[in-house]
Amino acid sequence: MKQIAPPLFLGILFLTLQTTLLASSPLYRIRPDLVLILTLYLSLSYPMVSGGILVFFLGSLLDLFSGNSFGLFTFSRPLIFMIARLLKERFYVEGFLPQFLFVLSLTLVEGLLILILLNGLNPRPVGRLYPLWVFVFLPQSLITGLVTPFLFSFFKQRLPLLSPQGTKGSAGS
């Protein structure tokens, strides 16, 4: 419970921020995906089972509050979590640039995945969503990537509760 409660609370807080404060700012189109940053941080610092359950729950919460009726985030978020876990052993995720590139690439992967799923699941073609990928999703991914190093260091320094015992300090190292 101690492992799950703090990131869950933070996830709900980030979701609330994404739907209210960040959504009403003038730059709402390129607001950073804070929940995705938390998901990727969990993939670096949390064990597979508890992290996976958390990410699954956060994904389903995202689906619940978005206008998507397929449960795309419930599927995509755990998948991204798994990919990030596979990548963390092979890539150096320490410092501004590696963290930025790590999150940027995975955000773009998730965007592509959603687009493919939307095209596959929708009875009508959603070709008109492709321009959205360039004009909205790409800038948003960049912003998410830029915010990541600051949030990662904040999680690491200020929120030791987010690093469960045994894996403490493994995020970004």
Partner: protein, 269 residues
């Protein structure tokens, strides 16, 4: 009278002399008094000026805050009044709701409102504002609901072009744009035309403004033409909306009258 004048003339000399002697003293004492008064007024008494200044600044900040709050309340009141006036115009049972959140992702276009099943909101109900159509209820909770905006690619609203009565389906384009689908090539549609709901879908009452045509293209071959429209309501700045709980029932006496007339005509024939 003349004696008094003579006496007065005698005194005048002494008066003038006294005045001449005293006036420099008076002048200098007045100057000294004024200077001392000035020193006290401008320096000694101003010791607490900084404190007073801080207090006044705080007071200004408080007043400004109060002013902003009052302005916000006045604007909110205006919006509610507009909403209530519109509510009276719409001949359907409506539920007023407040927008409490927007879609967390950029892929979908939705809103969260503070009314749910306990308030009578059901899936598929139309959501409108005084400016026009907003969308429809996608998901309901006990106290909250998710509204799918007309700009979402999953949204479809049966509509007609107000001027030409051309039928089409308004579909979302993702961003703040919609597309008129299945609009026949033969139909005359121009930029600036208003698109309204047809009432055929069942969810939306007839005649609600959906948006304004901004682009019409007849390039290529095919049965249909391409038209793009901008929603009449600014979907990014919504604060209060109305959920249509029940569409207005048809006038009860209309049908029997028609049948009576028809039977009357038949009888005459």
């Amino acid at each position: 009278m003349s004696l008094r004048v003579k006496q007065r003339r005698g005194i005048e000399f002494f008066d003038a002399l006294l005045m001449e002697v005293c006036s420099p003293f008076l002048k200098s004492s007045t100057f000294v008094l004024k200077t001392v008064h000035g020193v006290f007024q401008e320096y000694v008494f101003l010791v607490h000026l900084q404190k007073e200044n801080t207090l006044l600044k705080q007071k200004i900040i408080d007043l400004q805050k109060e002013n902003h709050q009052l302005k916000e309340e006045a604007l909110g009141g205006e919006r509610l009044q507009k909403l209530m006036q519109f509510r009276e115009k719409v001949a359907a049972s409506v539920i007023a709701a407040e927008v409490i959140g927007q879609d967390p992702s950029s892929w979908f276009k939705s809103l969260t409102i503070n009314k749910g099943e306990t308030d009578g909101v059901r899936k598929g109900m139309a959501v409108i504002s005084p400016e026009g159509v907003i969308g429809q209820i996608l998901r309901t909770g006990p106290r909250h609901s998710i509204v799918l905006l007309i700009t979402d690619y999953n949204s479809a609203v049966d509509s007609i072009v107000q001027r030409t009565r051309a039928k089409a389906i308004v579909e979302g384009k993702g961003e703040n744009r919609c597309q008129l689908k299945y609009l026949l090539r033969a139909e005359e549609v121009a930029v600036g035309d208003i698109v309204v709901t047809s009432g055929l879908g069942g969810n939306f009452p007839k005649g609600l403004v959906v948006g304004e045509v901004r682009k019409v293209e007849k390039t290529g071959q095919g049965v249909f033409q391409y038209a793009e429209l901008v929603p009449s309501a600014d979907l990014s700045k919504l604060e209060e909306v109305l959920v249509i709980a029940e569409s207005p029932p048809p006038p009860p006496e209309e049908k029997p009258k028609k049948t009576k007339r028809a039977s009357g005509i038949q009888k005459r024939k």
